[in-house]
């Protein structure tokens, strides 16, 4: 059975695309056939984060308009088997995404035997974000430990549970919280919301905590999803999140301050 997952947040710049790329790559690495779709029409970036920007020929809107087939538009990843990227259009606006059009693409992917369809939502609560979440079975809500991000996540959770297709049919979208850019040092110092605080406020299950890490920027610089950087804390945290998503019981890591040596303590 295929599952549609939306990666969303409301607020921009919190790590939706980075997380979509990592999650899709992580699922595909487990041997699950995965498609990741960029819904940010006009401002596509998933192609860049996935390092396939020079291989884009056709896009999501071309497929919806019947100007290309889905097979022509999907880019097969060269690093990981079972992983396909469907880029957004750079030249159209978000009205190009119609409900029927998006549904037909998702249905074709389902019929094609995809296990997971990951929808990378644009920021905001306009058409693009709405289309990305409308067909979702599960939602991964990306949140930074910061007031505006938490508030926007709460708002998007409300929209998910009232305006998605599953909600309209009387069901509920399965929610997962993914906290990104987490800095245990700042939490300990009392100037960053803790994971416990965020979970308490949003009251949805915690999927993972991604620590603030230089490797995230390095990964996007080189167009390689950070989950492939197996030595980095962010990469490991994403891998753990994938295991949890697939039902494994994995303890959380990187949530506490690492013990520093005497000299590091003294000179920062």
């Amino acid at each position: 059975m295929s599952k549609v997952i939306v990666v969303t947040s409301g607020k921009g710049g919190v790590g939706k695309t980075t997380s979509s790329a990592a999650i899709a790559t992580g699922l595909a690495s487990k041997g699950l056939k995965t498609a990741v779709i960029d819904f940010d029409v006009g401002l596509r970036n998933l192609d860049l984060i996935m390092g396939v920007e020079r291989r884009v020929v056709y896009d999501f809107v071309n497929v919806i308009n019947g100007e290309a087939t889905l097979k022509q538009a999907m880019i097969k990843d060269k690093r990981v088997d079972n992983l396909f990227i469907l880029p957004a259009s750079q030249t159209r606006d978000k009205d190009a995404l119609t409900e029927d059009g998006v549904e037909s693409v998702i249905n074709e992917l389902k019929a094609d035997g995809f296990d997971y369809i990951v929808c990378d939502s644009p920021a905001g609560i306009e058409k693009g974000a709405f289309m990305a979440l409308y067909f979702a079975d599960e939602a991964i809500v990306v949140t930074n430990p910061e007031v505006s991000s938490v508030r926007d996540s709460d708002r998007i959770l409300g929209i998910l549970q009232s305006r998605s297709k599953v909600a309209e049919e009387g069901g509920s979208v399965k929610e997962h919280l993914l906290v990104t850019r987490y800095s245990p040092e700042r939490v300990e110092g009392g100037d960053m919301l803790s994971v416990e605080d965020i979970v308490e406020i949003l009251s949805i299950p915690l999927l993972g905590v991604i620590p603030e890490s230089g490797s995230v920027l390095q990964a996007s610089n080189s167009g390689s999803p950070v989950i492939l950087d197996e030595a980095s804390t962010a990469g490991m945290a994403y891998s753990d999140a994938i295991d949890r998503f697939l039902g494994e019981d994995v303890p959380h890591r990187f949530m506490n301050v690492e013990k520093k040596g005497f000299f590091k303590k003294l000179f920062g």
Binding site: E146, V147, V150, R151, D154, R155, L157, G158, I159, L160, Q161, S162, R163, A167, V187, G189, G190, D191, M192, L193, S194, D197, E200, I201, K265, L266, F267, G268
Partner: protein
């Protein structure tokens, strides 16, 4: 934390606590206003505004002094009104 940070450790302590409290109040408020999906019927915000207007005929209250919520029960729904009067009005 470096050596020199020790001397700067004043004021702005535990802003995270303030963040959490502000968020909890704000989100409770927004839920009551029905912005988190189907937590209440569409008329709630308007109802709340009108109740504030009526109360203000008699007592001056803050904008956030009135909290309107719908509690869903099995047999019946309950409309819960919570009005905080200012100290002077007691």
């Amino acid at each position: 934390m470096g050596l020199f940070d020790l001397f700067r450790q004043d004021r702005k302590k535990n802003t995270a606590k303030a963040a959490k409290e502000r968020l909890q109040i704000l989100i409770a408020h927004e839920h009551a206003g029905g912005s988190r999906g189907n937590t209440g019927p569409d008329y709630l915000p308007k109802l709340r505004e009108e109740i504030i207007a009526v109360i203000r005929k008699y007592v001056e209250v803050d904008d956030d002094a009135v909290n309107v919520q719908i509690e869903k029960g099995d047999d019946l729904d309950m409309l819960e009104l919570n009005i905080t009067l200012p100290d002077a009005a007691k």
